[in-house]
Every structure is written in C-alpha cells, then in structure tokens.
Amino acid sequence: MRFESVQDVVARLATAGYLADEAIATVVFLADRLDKPVLVEGPAGTGKTELAKAVATILGDPLIRLQCYEGVDETKALYEWNYKKQLLRIQAGQDEGWDAISGDIFSDEFLLERPVLKAIRSEESVVLLIDEIDKMDFEGEALLLEVLSDFQVSIPELGTLKARQIPFVVLTSNNSRELSEALKRRCLYLYLDYPDVDREKAIVLERVPEINATLADQVVRLVRSIRALELKKAPSVAETIDWARTLLHLGVTELDAASAQNTLTALLKFQTDVEKVVAHLKIPPRPGNN
C-alpha cells in the first residue's frame, strides 16, 4: 500500500513536479493496489518515462531501468552466469570432485543480476522501468511475461526466484508495433495523449515559473492548433516548454504573428513543418461543423 487514495497520488505526484490528471492517478493507484504493472502508451514526449521517474521520486525508491532495443535477450534483461568467475572457480578447485564444483558454480555467487532480476530480488522496494518495450522484438517480450504476471524468474540451473517485494513496474511504448495480447492482458493500460489546454498550461507554468499567464495561455493554444495539423513531427510537451522559454528570453510578453514565426524553430524540427504551420496561421477558414 503505497498510496492512500487517488487524490493522494495526485497531490504527491504534484510535489515531484508531475501534474497528473485523475485518469493517470487512478491507474497509478490501482497498479499499487492490484500489484499489476502499468503499460503506458502514447506519442513521444508526453511524459511516459517521466511518470515512472516521478513515482520513484515520491516513493523515495531507487529506479531500475531497462532500456529496450532490438536484440535484448535474457542475458541483458534478466540474468547471466558469470562464466569467467565460474572458470576461475573450476581452476581453483582442481582437486575437488566434479560433483562438488558443479553444485557450486551454479549458485547465487556466480549469478549476474540484470535489471529485471535485480528489481525483484532487491530487499527494499523499487520502481522498475521497462522503457520503449515496442523496440524489443517479439521473442524478447515473452521473456518478461513470467515476471509481469507472477513476479518471479525461473532459472533452469537454480530454480525459481520469487520476488522479495513486489516492485512498481512501468512499461512504456511508442506504439511503433502492436504489443502481444499476452503482455497487454497482464498490465493496466494507460494512454498518455498530449495534455489538454488547461493541463499543458499548468505544466508550462510549473516548468517556466517566470512566464506570465497570458503568454502561457497563448503558447499552449497555438501548440494545440499546430498539433491538429498533419506534421512530420508534432510538437511534444517538452518542445512547448522550450518554446515558452525561448519567448521568455527574447522578452516577448504577448504573442504576435512576427514573434511566433521567428521562434517556431524551437517548436518544430523540420523545415517543411515550419512552412506548413506558417501557412496554417495565415489561412483561417476551415469547413464548418455541421
């Protein structure tokens, strides 16, 4: 029981500088109560990884991170045998019988813990972040299933290692491929979209405290308008903050067409996107509602 209520989660996340809405807080709260991992999906730059960090901060727990990429296997995610040490052990005990040695070299002492095993074997509670799981290939995903549902790791030579405590697990995905049903079933699901205007404004005010409210308001509204376009790369929350900072440093107090245009490069990373946005801000009418 790490949290008392959903409101408690909201309040404590806020102290770590993470402004959560009720949906986010409910999922975090339930993950703790049901002892289930959280799968966070959403576009880049909406604070998925940040959420795991914030949770670790408010719980005061260490964050153990597994960065996924294509080709992650059990020796990188779960455990590996320290074979150099095993060789030394065999050489050191040349007079002993094989039985004595073979029992010995497959013991805890020769086991190298990788992030996932480390997380469940830790004595104190930890937060485990499995980042960008969609970058992992399909087979790698299967390695995690046992951990995610039963919080244990089976090692053929050693038996099953159970978790000493249940870690708080966060998985993130950019949705570059569909994750398997088996994995999704084991997790609570949270989709982190770009925040709505009010929340994004609050985030900007939190991160850039010197900015005045009018400018912050204009910035997030314009960003929302820009996100509605089809761009190569839509601006993330981090880029909104960058943009707000840029404007602030240039001494802009109220956004007008000129200052917006001159600073768009802080927000957009492709020239074609910049051109499109400039055009968009000049051509008002769009088809109506009915």
Binding site: E22, L30, E178, L222, E230, K232, D256, N289, N290
Partner: protein
C-alpha cells in the same frame, strides 16, 4: 452490479473490443478499490483494465455512457423534459431565440459543465418527435436544425474580442477554441440522445445500433468524414509497422545457412581447424511494387483510401510506382513523392491525365495503356497490385493484359472493395480478371488490408 458488468463486457465484445475473462476479473477487483460514487475514477478503473488499445477507446466511451450513466428509467427522462421545458404560453419562436442567446453566452464562456447542461436542454426542447409511434422518439438532427452550429461559430468569432478586428493569429486561436467548444456541445447532444434512447429501450438495444465499428473494421465505402480522418491517422503507423516487420524478416533471413565448402576452404589458413564458420547469405529480396488504382466515381471513397495507402507506402518503401486511371491511365509516382497527402491529391486531380472520354471507368482501355507504356519495365521482381471494383460499364475487359502481366511479373494481385457476394453482379467482371490474377481479395477495411499485406509480402 455484477450482471451489469457482464452485460457491459458482452457489449464491448460485440463491438469488437477483445475483453479477456482475466481482464473482466481485474476490472471487478479494481472496482473494489475506487469509491463507487466517483464516476470518473470508476470509469478510469474500467478503462485501465478492459481497454488495451487507444483505437478501442471511443467504443468504450460510448458504451460506458450507455451502460453506466443511465438506468433511471423512462419516467426520469419525461421528468427531465418537463423540468427543461420553457414556461407555458410563450411564443415558441421567441423561446427558441432566447435559448440560442443563452447557448451563445455559454459557449462564449466556455465552461464545460455549462455546455453539458445546455446540450441536455437542447435535446429536451428540440430533439423530441411528438408523434413517434415506433422507432426512437429523439433525433439529433432535429436539434441541429434548431441550433445552427455554423452561424453560432460565425457569431462567436465576431464577438471573441470586443471592439476591434482580430489579427490572423488571434483568429486562428479563437477559431480552434470555439470549434472545440462547439464540438463538445455536439458530442454532448449526441450522447444525451443516446442515453435517452437507452432509458426507453435498454442499453443493449442502443449499443447495437450506435457504436461505430473500430477503425480497423471500418468499411471504407461507408466511412464518415471524421472517420476518414481517423483512418488516415491509422494508416501511417500501419505502413510503418509493416515496414519494420519486413525489415526484421529480411534481417532474420540474412543470417544465412552454414556454407560447408567455404568454411572448409577458409580453415586451411588455420591448419584445417574450422575456427571461422562461413555462411551463405541469401540475396536480399527487394520488392518492387506497381500500384494501379481506379479513381472513378463509383469507387471514390475507396479510392481516397487507397491513395492514402499508396502515399504512406511510398514514403516507407523505395521502389513503389503508382498509377491511377478512370478511362485513361497516368503515372503519379512523382506526385505522391510529395510529403503532404492533401497536396498530392490536389495535384493529382489537376495534373493527372485520367479522363479522356466520358469519366466512367474503362478498365480495358486503361489496362491496355498500362501494358503498352509501362509493360516493359515490369520484371520478375515486380509485384503488381490493382485496386478497383472491376465494374467496367459493359466495356471490353482486356483481361489478356492481366495474363500477360502475370507471366512477366512476380505476382499480380487484385484488391476489390466490394463484398464478395456483389462480385460479378451487374457490370462487374471480377471473375474475368480474377481468373488471370494470382489472387483477388476483398479488402473493405484495415484489418483485411493488413492480412493481405502480411500474407503477400
């Protein structure tokens, strides 16, 4: 509560959202931890445990509304309606004006709960069909006949900033803001109409008719404008996913088999001990794709979709050439190399030379032209994909072209947007072409398209 829950998950499954038994159990366990009077937390708990993909979220929202925000019974609706009714004896036109004035001020204020109230009021006052004997007693179109959203938007834009004209930048921002509020209003009206129906006729009945299919099951031909936007969003990740999967396949295939001869020969340099193993790599298969699309009126909705796909595909794969035709055929590869889809379509409409005669599809002429002009560039690595309904307006079929392509190319596929049982009815000559193609597939939604691509490439 439990029964309701089971009904709800059945409705979700009917809508195509896969809800596993274990997820149902998780949902029930989760509910034990959230206060039952907090509807938002309740909803968040159900969403976290039952909906595992953003694409399914919309269906969930609609169904949640029907199953968990109703249940007060038909009398409560009547009660509500009496409560919302304008005072007796007034002139209906004046009262409507008065309501519109209130709505205008609410929208200008922009408070979400006030907008919800206004929507409920609008349904109570204008949505009812008095003499409805059968069918539903509420209609949203009646509401939107009384409340014209476009003129409201125009008025809002006028009054956004007092006393002066807006700069283009301000205009942009306010327009987005007001459109957002109007959209909220419209969605509230739609939801309210659905809820009232559910009170009258049961949630299950309404769910069956109102939940739109999931994006992957959406019939291209029947998609509404909003849904097409949604489809377009879904297509790009689809093309990217397919590209990643193909790249993975290619890499996996590239590990190659042990080449014994090369290994032994190489081992001579180490005194016959085979230290290094040698592999025989397969030559990478670089697929070349020719896409030929019918863009005539009869397949307009499908064509727009296929063009989206051609566009997304061309961005991901290097060797794609695209052609479009109505009664004449033209190559549009260079147009679709443009990043922006809408610009590409615009230019295609202006520049592509596809109508020479009467603007009805002529597969025969177009295919012959394709063969004459581009047939020589088809090689053994080329796959040709033809997209169209094979409705040829009783013209000559020229199906020999398909046969000729088939002999030269790796494969010829035909994707048909019509349901299979419509093939060969009327002027459709699907069988005539299918006979010579490597396969003709019914492709009416994203799911079928994905299946096709996975099987074929």
């Amino acid at each position: 509560m439990l029964t309701r829950m089971l009904e709800f998950s059945r409705a979700m499954r009917d809508a195509g959202v896969p809800v596993a038994v274990s997820e149902n159990l998780d949902a029930l366990r989760a509910l034990a931890h959230v206060p039952s009077e907090d509807k938002d937390a309740f909803k968040a708990a159900l969403a976290a445990t039952m909906v595992k993909s953003e694409a399914h979220r919309k269906a969930f929202d609609t169904l949640f509304d029907l199953y968990w925000r109703t249940g007060r019974g038909a009398e409560a609706v009547e009660e509500q309606e009496r409560f919302d009714a304008p005072p007796d004896g007034g002139d209906p036109d004046d009262q409507q004006q008065e309501y519109l004035e209130d709505l205008f001020r609410t929208l200008l204020g922009g408070d979400a709960s006030a907008i919800r109230e206004a929507a409920r009021m609008a349904v109570s006052r204008f949505g009812r069909v008095e003499a409805a004997q059968s069918g539903s007693p509420y209609f949203q179109y009646r509401v939107f006949r009384a409340v014209d959203l476009d003129s409201l938007l125009a008025r809002l834009m006028q009054d956004a900033v007092e006393g002066r004209a807006l700069t283009p930048l301000e205009e942009r921002m306010w327009r987005d803001e007001f459109e957002q509020r109007l959209r909220a209003f419209r969605e509230e009206v739609e939801a309210d109409v659905r809820r009232r129906l559910a009170e009258h006729r049961g949630a299950a009945q309404v769910a069956k008719h109102t939940v739109r299919p999931l994006p992957e099951d959406l019939d291209f031909v029947r998609a509404t404008r909003d849904e097409i936007v949604e489809l377009r969003r879904a297509i790009r990740p689809l093309a990217r996913r397919l590209a990643t999967r193909l790249a993975m396949k290619r890499r996996a295939a590239n590990r190659g088999r042990l080449d014994v001869r090369a290994t032994v020969r190489h081992s001579l340099s180490t005194g016959g001990v085979p230290f290094d193993t040698r592999y025989r790599h397969k030559a990478p298969h670089r697929p070349e794709l020719f896409m030929v699309c019918d863009i005539s009126g009869s397949v307009a909705a499908f064509a727009r979709f296929t063009l989206m796909f051609v566009h997304a595909f061309q961005a991901q794969f290097s060797r794609v050439r695209s052609f479009v035709f109505v009664d004449h055929l033209d190559e549009v590869t260079h147009l679709f190399a443009n990043e922006d889809f809408l610009v590409a379509v615009d230019r295609m409409n202006q520049e592509a030379d596809v109508v020479r005669f009467d603007g009805h599809s002529d597969y025969g002429n177009s295919l012959e032209r394709f063969w004459r002009d581009y047939g020589s560039s088809i090689g053994p690595r080329t796959s040709v994909v033809i997209l169209g309904d094979a409705r040829n307006n009783y013209r000559a079929s020229a199906s020999w072209v398909i046969k000729a392509i088939g002999q030269k190319a790796r494969r010829v596929y035909w994707l048909n947007p019509e349901p299979i049982n419509y093939w060969d009815t009327g002027d459709s000559i699907a069988a005539d072409y299918a006979r010579h193609a490597s396969g003709m597939f019914e492709v009416r939604n994203l799911r079928q398209l994905e299946e096709f691509i996975e099987r074929v490439i």
